[in-house]
């Protein structure tokens, strides 16, 4: 086990590093105008990063040791479909959670 000094070194350095990453553009660019090509790419940040974050977790869930799982897959498809069709985040979360819980109880 890592000792106390080393642990706090990790915590503080990780905290500073994470803040640095989050502050990078907000702090340094501020309200200066950014070039149009950059803004055009930034418009797609959320829609590119969030699906990339989720896709591997859906196909290879950590809790099943990376084995694809029908219950989780069904819940994911239901969540996405409801979100896409209704544009309502909370309806999507509710349906996804309901599918996940009911299928988990069944199987």
């Amino acid at each position: 086990m890592t000792d106390t000094t080393e642990l706090w070194t990790i915590i503080i350095a990780l905290g500073l590093g994470s803040f640095g990453l989050r502050f990078a553009f907000l702090g340094l660019v501020g309200d200066r105008a950014m070039p149009e090509w950059l803004l055009r790419h930034l418009r797609y940040t959320a829609v590119a990063v969030i699906p990339a974050l989720v896709a591997p977790l859906v196909i290879w869930p950590t809790s099943t040791g990376g084995e694809p799982d029908a219950t989780r897959l069904a819940a994911a498809v239901a969540t996405f479909a409801v979100g896409y069709l209704t544009k309502n985040v909370f309806a999507a979360m509710g349906v996804g959670a309901a599918v996940l819980v009911s299928l988990s109880l069944l199987f």
Binding site: L7, L26, L42, A52, L53, A75, F80
Partner: protein
């Protein structure tokens, strides 16, 4: 008047952020439990959640500390996992960049997956907001997400191993993010960006240190920007 609209933006943000409590609670508790199992004291576990305040990076660091990895490897891996935060920072700057520096500092500290995704979804949907209203909305979204992150880390750390791992709880996080993806797919360019990012994320999932996420993120952004140019779609 201005304070009134900011206040209503805050409450609107708080309401929109509330469902994330169901995700953050279990996730934070899990970190508390695992950190305790790894031998961290309660104040050290809390230090992690308050100073670092980044779920995925905290779990990565904890995993590597458990494996007795060298400090530099722990830091490099956990920061690589957090590199997407720089993209969030850039993406939200056109909206919150005009704020005074100290307020931008506050936004930066609380800029996590959920606060970013929910805020950008709202900023792009409701275009007529002032910077003050956007800042208030962001703080509203943050309220049911970040303080509970500390609180439930504490609960997990104190209760430790007495919490049974319940079925399907691990999947609350993917469900919460997936729910947000549907409403984001407003134009063909958005749909192309998402599709390319998913394909790249799965194709490059084998890369170490979560680098596949960055490849997919950048690839998706480039695909979206190209599609916007070629299809001539309005942003």
């Amino acid at each position: 008047m201005a304070a009134g609209t900011a206040m209503s933006s805050y409450w609107r943000g708080l309401r929109d952020g509330l469902p994330f409590l169901a995700v953050v609670g279990p996730f934070a508790m899990l970190f508390g439990v695992l950190a305790t199992e790894a031998g961290l004291a309660v104040h050290e576990t809390m230090g992690f959640s308050i100073v670092v305040i980044a779920g995925a990076a905290q779990f990565t660091a904890l995993q590597l500390i458990n494996e007795n990895a060298p400090t530099l490897v722990v830091l490099a891996s956990a920061l690589a996992v957090n590199l997407r935060m720089a993209m969030y920072s850039a993406s939200i700057t056109p909206h919150l960049g005009p704020l005074p520096l100290w307020k931008r500092g506050i936004v930066a500290y609380f800029l996590v997956d959920q606060t970013y995704a929910q805020s950008i979804l709202d900023f792009e949907k409701n275009l007529d907001q002032t910077t003050a209203e956007k800042f208030a909305y962001f703080l509203g979204v943050m309220t049911p997400i970040c303080p509970p992150w500390y609180l439930f880390t504490f609960v997990g750390a104190v209760l430790g191993e007495s919490i049974p791992p319940s079925l399907g709880l691990d999947f609350a996080l993917p469900i919460a993010f997936l729910a947000m993806v549907g409403p984001m797919l407003r134009t063909p360019a958005h749909r192309i960006a998402a599709l390319v990012s998913v394909i790249l994320a799965l194709a490059f999932a084998w890369l170490p240190y979560n680098m596949g996420l960055l490849v997919a993120g950048l690839g998706g952004m480039m695909a979206g920007a190209q599609a916007e140019l070629r299809l001539g779609v309005k942003p």
